[in-house]
Symmetry: C2
């Protein structure tokens, strides 16, 4: 495996969506259809697209663990739920499964924490201690390719308190570092436009604080 | 600026390239045409596309400094050259501007170190200490959008020994953290297919080491 030769691949026809459409409608999708599995061929397209992202010195350090086994996802979902609430306990002192107001930005993330166990697929992203600069472009390609295939995704992390059990669940070696996890599924909601700060305010020209010409 | 309201944007027509073509032909482009500037309208498209990437809790922490002023790029290029060779000195004990064999993977990066001063545009990526998970998906969107516009790019970093001078050059506040820089220019070479490890070897199914069904 590790001595495989690098290969070139043609762009898959399935990724015919325009780049603009894919990027400008990449919503975080947390409400996943639990009853619609993702075809292995589509998972391969996502992995191939992910592999095309740049990495420092082209070392390609990312290793993806794709989980489609329902029992394993159910076990992982319990750990994800625990981890999500442990993060909120750390940050805000919240109790597990406490009520979250309908207008809170945490409402949908908390729903995902409860529903992760039913996700049709989950991708866990690892490396042997690569820096983020060589990992997250790859993850973004994965999620853009998912969008291109009509599959929803969201970039999530875990809490340190569950990592040993996650690693045990998937037989991950101790010298491997976890980066993030990406649940995948066909959306119960819709893709659509996202709202962002205007780049006239987040971008400078030639000197810090100097506005761009737009 | 910081109190600007988030806005929605339609996908720009200029990003009509297919997602697959953009991702599967995103080469690192280091030989840039110094005589062909990049239109401000195209820079805006790249920044808007970058802004569409996901960030943790949608905090949108990335601030981009776009440099098109030729004198500033020339000054930055000197610092980049010094930084690039400082990294090689740290890693291999190399002398600045020493000969690099034609078949070395460092040949083109060293060429860029010498030519950065003539790049038509350079984007410096900053945040107030955001983690890589909230920065590099944004950078990847920027580079994919550049590809979609026919503009070459490559993700590069600096060496700590030049950071104070870089920050001085662009009046960057001391509480802001540098992440990476992305030179932009029309390629002297061509876009084209890239070679990567086959995902049959970098991807596992359901358990570490278990091969995927492809």
């Amino acid at each position: 495996m590790s001595d495989a030769e690098p290969i070139a691949l043609d762009p898959p026809e399935e990724l015919s969506i325009s780049l603009g459409e894919a990027m400008f409608t990449q919503r975080a999708i947390r409400r996943l259809d639990p009853d619609r599995p993702i075809a292995a061929a589509d998972l391969k397209i996502m992995m191939d697209a992910a592999s095309k992202a740049p990495t420092g010195a082209n070392i390609q350090p990312v290793r993806m663990l794709v989980v489609t086994d329902r029992a394993k996802i159910a076990s992982f979902g319990e750990l994800y739920h625990e981890a999500w609430w442990a993060k909120r306990a750390d940050a805000y002192g919240w109790e597990p499964d406490q009520e979250i107001p309908a207008d809170s930005p945490y409402r949908m993330p908390a729903l995902l924490a409860s529903e992760m166990a039913a996700a049709p697929a989950v991708v866990l992203v690892f490396s042997h201690d690569a820096p983020g600069v060589s990992v997250y472009p790859t993850v973004q390609n994965l999620m853009l390719a998912a969008r291109g295939l009509g599959v929803g995704s969201v970039l999530t992390t875990l809490h340190a308190s569950v990592m040993d059990r996650v690693n045990d669940l998937f037989s991950v070696p101790t010298d491997v570092r976890f980066h993030c996890c990406v649940p995948l599924g066909y959306p119960r909601g819709n893709f659509g436009s996202t709202h962002r700060l205007p780049t006239s305010g987040t971008t400078f020209l030639d000197s810090w604080g100097s506005p761009p010409p737009w």
